[in-house]
Amino acid sequence: MPLHLENLSLARNGVRYLDRVDATFRRGRLTTVIGRTLAGKTTLLRTLAGLQAPDSGDLKLDGVSIASVPVWKRDVAMVYQQFINYPHLSVLENVAFPLLRRGLKAPEAQLRAEATLAKVGLSGFAARRPSQLSGGQQQRVALARALAREAPILLLDEPLVNLDYKLREQLREEFRGLFAEETKAIVVYTTTEPAEAMMLGDEIVVMHEGRILQVGTPVDVFERPASTAVAEIVNDPPMNILPGAVVDGRIALGSYRLALPAHLSRLAAADYRFGLRATDLHVDPASEIAGSLVFAEISGSETFLHVETAFGPLALQIEGIHDIALGTQVPIGFSTERLFAFAADGALVVAP
């Protein structure tokens, strides 16, 4: 039986943190909630945890409203962005503490805490204080404390955001294994990073300005983003969105006219916003479309080129690390077969 959110809204000082949110979270599934900062992700988790009461709407666990159940009775485990541990307790005590508070006998709590520490790779660190651990290890302690609880609802609020990228890479993979074993709990995990949302989520919820824009499997959301806003949020760098039109059976982008590819052949003549992923653009010396490089950014093993063109800024993602001087004219190629077409209001019309 699932956790239902029904028409949840919450506003403070004129800012809508949650705006008529409906969602369903199921047991044994991990839902990633992706959105930019201030999309309402943290508020959503805090509302699920009972740390914040919605202005209106209801939360139902197995059909029973829990909206008025206070936080200490909800049996929700949470992991935060900051590494929150009890500084005066050992690593083992940090994990065992909530178990003892819930009435487990000391030997049993210790056994379970030890088993959970083993799961997160911290067996050798049980006697240390959190301050003697690295950031990644501290966050593993916080995670172990949440997992050991075996709470029916486990919430993780951007747990990797404060770690450097090697550790993020490593922990993401570990999380995949850990959560695969989590067959009973409802797990909700927020992130701003598309790759993280994709690889961890059984399901993705896309949030923007307090609203849920789309819910679906990672593949669905990535391949058929419901709107330009979703397309921007679930791609890094954000999907390029170019205002254009279909005129006389051709695509008009700025002063360029391009033949309609097969998948767009039935588009009616109208204004559209065309979407192109950064990975679908490449440096093409033969192309007549070019722009000036305003910024080159390295992400892992890729270079993002941000180029100012006649139809606005474009981001290209190219493999490997490249050193290209700012101001260089970059000729840009793409295949029209990779174009998304969105209506003028942003709704998806056709995906490639």
């Binding site: 994709m198 990672p218 990535f222 892992g300 093993s301 490997g320 690390i321 700012l326």
Partner: protein, 357 residues
């Protein structure tokens, strides 16, 4: 701006082992450098030695030709930006930016012109009259940065994880600004960070540090293509470089008995043990039927990252990752893998001896 020379500089705190092992280094005038490494690697110690906060227990430090080893921070003429904004909350943005110049008794007209120039660079022109306390933390950090940049006579601009407090969404904007500003101003910039992406995006050259040593100095591209050690191959790039135990046989370099670059030019005098081959996930691919010298692999898992898929494979006892574009169907169980031989890195005892075979 100045060239910074470190001669046999080393440091230990009390009788502890070296926090920074003695080394020589010249940082050229007008270039930007990142000191990159995990916490405890010695990068902050190195920055503090350059700024004058820490006097090294060994060696000499020169700004251009001037020996400043015993000169305290106040006499070194360096500007610093810290993790957290250090500004005067009650003063206006303008006064904050003007302060370092007033201290140096610049004429008012010159101060005005210089502050306007820096404010323009940082997009702070519209907010010059605002009291600093009214700004967001990002804007405050921009002012800190502006205060570092405003003096045109500093020997170097030192930055210690300046984007720590910045919201991830804003980081992109600030990185961009930082890069543009440092390119334009041609300051000698030293930037400490543990974030590989930040270092590679920002710096002309990176000093990768580990356990008190500079393990490699190079451009981001050099670190990626020719990592001097397997550690750098692991630390730079995502996913990390794949590394296999290898041997030399009749077929040249071999992995598990399979030649991967037959007839390749090998350095002479290769040892018989401790040989390893590294390949970036980007440079390993699914083999086409006509390819020779391919490795048999078993697919262990596929991670869908969206624009790419990371395919984890087992090759003999070794694990490796491939990066496949979304348009390539990931193999289901068995696959043959081709390694780009011009991109192979050959390591002996984890030190690079050849790139491309």
């Amino acid at each position: 701006m100045a060239r910074i020379t470190l001669e046999r500089v080393g440091h230990r705190y009390g009788h502890a082992p070296y926090a920074l092992e003695p080394f020589d280094m010249v940082l050229e005038d007008g270039r930007s450098y990142a000191l990159l490494g995990p916490s405890g690697c010695g990068k902050t110690t190195m920055l503090n030695i350059i700024s004058g906060v820490v006097r090294p227990s060994e060696g000499r430090i020169l700004l251009d030709d001037r020996d400043v080893t015993v000169v305290p921070i106040s006499g070194r003429n360096v500007a610093q930006v810290f993790q957290f904004p250090v500004i005067y909350q009650s003063k206006s943005v303008y006064e904050n930016l003007a302060f370092p110049l007033r201290c140096r008794r610049w004429p008012i007209a010159r101060i005005k012109a210089r502050v306007a120039e820096i404010a323009d660079l940082l997009d702070l022109s519209g907010r010059l009259g605002k009291p600093a306390w009214q700004l967001t933390v990002d804007e405050k950090q921009l002012i800190s940065l502006g205060r570092g940049l405003v003096r045109d006579d500093v020997a170097a601009l030192l930055m210690d994880e300046p984007l720590t407090v910045i919201d991830p969404q804003m980081k992109f904007q600030l990185r961009r600004k930082l890069k543009a500003v440092s390119q334009k101003a041609r300051h000698t910039v030293i930037y400490v960070t543990h974030d590989q992406n930040e270092a590679m995006t920002f710096a002309d050259e990176i000093l990768v540090m580990s356990a008190g040593k500079v393990v490699q100095r190079g451009t981001p591209q050099e670190l990626f293509e020719r990592p001097r050690t397997t550690y750098v191959g692991y630390f730079i790039g995502s996913p990390s470089m794949n590394v296999f135990d290898a041997e030399i046989g009749a077929g040249g370099v071999m992995i598990g008995g399979t030649p991967i670059a037959p007839g390749g030019a090998l350095p002479s005098g290769l040892p018989t043990s401790g040989l390893r081959v590294g390949i970036r996930p980007e440079y390993a691919s699914l083999a086409q039927p006509e390819d020779s010298d391919t490795l048999a692999a078993t697919v262990v898992g596929v991670q869908d990252h969206g624009s790419v898929r990371i395919v984890e494979v087992a090759i003999g006892t070794a694990r490796a990752r491939l990066k496949l574009g979304r348009d390539i169907a990931p193999p289901s169980a068995q696959a043959r893998i081709r390694l780009r031989r011009d991109k192979l890195c050959l390591f002996v005892d984890d030190h690079l001896i050849a790139a491309g075979i």
